[in-house]
Symmetry: D2
Subunit: 300 residues, 4 copies
């Protein structure tokens, strides 16, 4: 227990979209208080001086690494949730997938929060591949995302006049999130097609996945029901496919699925808010597990 | 030749989105003049009295059939371009795919204009399947469309507040355009996945297709180059994938493609404006062929 | 106290935009629990059976009147917050302007929640007219609102394709909110110009007001500071005019103002979220006052 | 006459929004051909070498001045239409208001195209002030514009995520267009309030003006009808106020007006497409007058 009646947390990268979203949710969190929130001019030393028990890093990968090292150097005992891609392949951190790694997250000193696209794909694919309900090969993830996923840096293609009325695919066969999904959800990377698209809206991800069932609809449904029986933030829609906006400003991931008449292919639709379940909300969910709070605290 | 110095055309269904778009383009057409444009209260008899040489039907399928019959009954010799789905499987009409059926269209009394989704998919798939550059089986078309494709009828899910910030898949494995694409582009229907999505914008289609090349990138490029060497309205982008908004308010279909590193899969992106190349513009292109005008007249 | 550990509330009109927003905020309210939420098929009798202490009516005016009568007839002692326009001129209800009428609201059996446009205008004009810092005559309120203010009923002009890229004025010199503003903020109705416009977005109001200061910038600032010294949900921006989106999904009304160089005219900008401070949030603020809770409970 | 069968024109600043729009319209112009179109790396010398008869400058003010001087220095006889603000107060140029200055424009070597906001305000106010149908004092112009009016330079507030769902006033009582409107439409500058707002859309201007009629509705209507009896691009709507999107992608300015019941105030709504009648379209209209073509050539 420290001088705050609630658990003290710090936020680095508070000026970006994910950082701003974190602060908005933390302000409503019944068990957390923000001891320090800093933008790009903040330092690990000053953060350590504020004595937070937990620090959220909503910073670019290289900056996150410098913060983790800096906090240790400054003698801070704070446990860290890093929202960047810095530690998503690094065994020094626990991959912050609460529906799968809850126990390890609870004990971790450093949690690496999954990427937004990866969260949508992992939750759709993980239970199916693990249970063998679908093949791990030849999986396609055709993903659509609002512009906030690209962050706050100025980009010509993200100016209002350029994105309004537009849609485009990018980084086809070479997106940095593909290896993350392959690694953590058990997808065969060599035959995985991950095709992200930019949508003319600010927030939200809808991923349409094409997979090969091995055992029919019942096996898929069973795998999902088993995996998410106690998951607070995954909603199963069955054949009534979910819509993106129903998850806006929530920490939910909505999943629906439908089989081709011959049963040899299935379409899965996975929706979430890239700034919430895809970033700040999931970071708080991980923090809740680490701090021993209810997993849903502050996320209702 | 009739009393007009230009060729006289009529438009039925002038109040809908496609009809309105037709009138806008026809107003700029150097060789056409609109003798009559009627909405839902127009009749074939009155249209026949206006003596048009050509009639565009931007009406629902059942209404289009009644118009075709009504014009004949009223003694009108007018040749017809029907934008509905009424005749897309009917040998009484020529399928209005100008890049493939130009000669038949030129001689036709009744042309059935392809659907907007079908146009995007046909132009992407037709040459590849015909040349054998890809397999006809296991093709996926993940298509995204603006709201005008749904027409002007009031729908709760198309109210601004519902569609803003939203994206959703619909009619998965059961869209009426799938058989049209299968039939005309030579796709194996049983293993074809056509997944349309609604985008939060008014106009435009971007289709992302997943196919299986049989002979590498060169064979795909060669098939496209051969098919579209003289096509006025298909632009080939190669690996520099096209964006949707670059085709807005034009009659172009833009195509790009990229192979998976192992060469066993390819992503094709096909973009067009659903109201132009996907409806009114292509209808005028067909009319130009029928009337013996330059294919590009009024469509520059 | 009833069987619920929290105060039980009911919501009628739960299917509309304001009703839905109410439920979202009430779900996070630390002192309230929703005993019953009904749509257009709900009845006062069934609601009374759920024994709520408070009922929110997010229903059309005539329906609200029927609900108030029906609840009484069914013997319900519930105190009511009505979000419709049914009682805004009726002395049977207290006008729910928390920054002005807190004491009367706290004691009221029936509170009439102000309209969204009226809230934006009242908060901008009320203190200035009351203090004499501006004239009550020749006031102009050029207001801009997102589409959700029009409610959920299907309207052709609110379909996505019609509103996208559009802006229009409506009900010029005859909007039903003008008398409400005149009455409650003390505006001279005969010379008041209220010009609402529809914006191509879902939520938010920005009102630009043109007024005649009587005593300079200092008098205006002083009137605002005095009126809002203890107001939890009004933020004063001075000459740094506020933007609409900064109030989205919050219960704040942001005010800024600037004088013409000669001091004889001032522009005031007033922003809020029409579904929160302009409807559901303010209703909860009124409920908090009625129930004796902190005014900010559930609204942080 | 030069080597082109049509009149040769040049475009500088072809990469900006106005320049791009110019090229789109010029491509359809029956009497013009683009001899040279250059972006920010173009030079007057190279342009002069292409021997255009007319040059459009869609460049910033200082660049426009350098181009005008550079073309003269390079010996080019080209007549110039400048879309920037460089010459809007300079007697060396004719102010390109076709509905008022047609004869002077026809003879001009240098035409200064009006600003987009100024065009909307001038067309609304000019005839009324000139005829005395309204007072020149205490005029308010509450204007709303899409983002393309700000040009193509990267700005944080114009990134999609910032402008989506937003609306804001800017440059209140100090916008650079206010003196332009005052000067050319005869407005009393000291008591003129010009309040521009940014709308969450790409193109379009809707200006809501508040004026003081001196002689009733009939005098206003008569002034408009007289002024625009032969104007090809001004449409009078009377009390049926126009909407912004009806002018999108056209060269029209739509005007509507309505009097306060006591007749002492009127609201005027003026709409246009800021990139067409507010920039490129009006520039071509001026070019048509200068070249002796039909005023509507290429603008239908």
């Amino acid at each position: 227990m420290n001088k705050y009646s609630k658990t003290a947390v710090g936020v680095a990268g508070a000026g970006g979209y994910a950082g701003r979203e974190l602060l908005r949710w933390l302000a409503r969190h019944p068990r957390a208080t923000v001891a320090a929130a800093v933008g790009s001019d903040g330092t690990p030393e000053a953060m350590a001086a504020a004595q937070p028990d937990f620090v959220f890093l909503a910073t670019p990968p290289e900056v996150s690494k410098a913060w983790v090292d800096g906090l240790r150097a400054a003698g801070s005992p704070a446990r860290v949730v890093d929202l960047s891609g810095a530690y998503r392949f690094d065994p020094v951190a626990v991959y912050g997938w609460p529906e799968r790694n809850a126990a390890a997250i609870a004990a971790a000193a450093l949690v690496s929060n999954p990427g937004c696209y990866a969260t949508a794909a992992n939750l759709a694919l993980g239970p199916l591949i693990e249970s063998g309900a679908i093949a791990a090969e030849e999986i396609i993830c055709d993903a659509k995302s609002g512009a906030s996923g690209a962050g706050k840096g100025l980009r010509a293609d993200l100016q209002f006049c350029e994105l309004e009325g537009n849609c485009k695919a990018y980084h086809v066969y070479q997106h940095r999130h593909a290896p993350e999904i392959a690694r953590h959800a058990g997808v065969d990377e060599a035959t995985f097609a991950f095709t992200p698209h930019l949508l003319p809206t600010g927030r939200g991800i809808l991923a349409t996945l094409y997979v090969r069932p091995t055992g029919g609809e019942a096996a898929m449904a069973a795998a999902y029901e088993r995996a998410y029986a106690h998951a607070a933030f995954v909603r199963l829609h069955g054949g009534d496919l979910p819509e993106m906006s129903a998850t806006a400003h929530t920490n939910f991931c909505d999943l629906g699925w439908k089989l081709r008449p011959d049963g040899k292919q299935a379409v899965i639709v996975s929706c979430l808010d890239n700034l919430v379940k895809g970033a700040a909300g999931q970071a708080i969910q991980n923090f809740n597990l680490m701090a021993g709070f209810a997993e849903t605290a502050g996320l209702a």
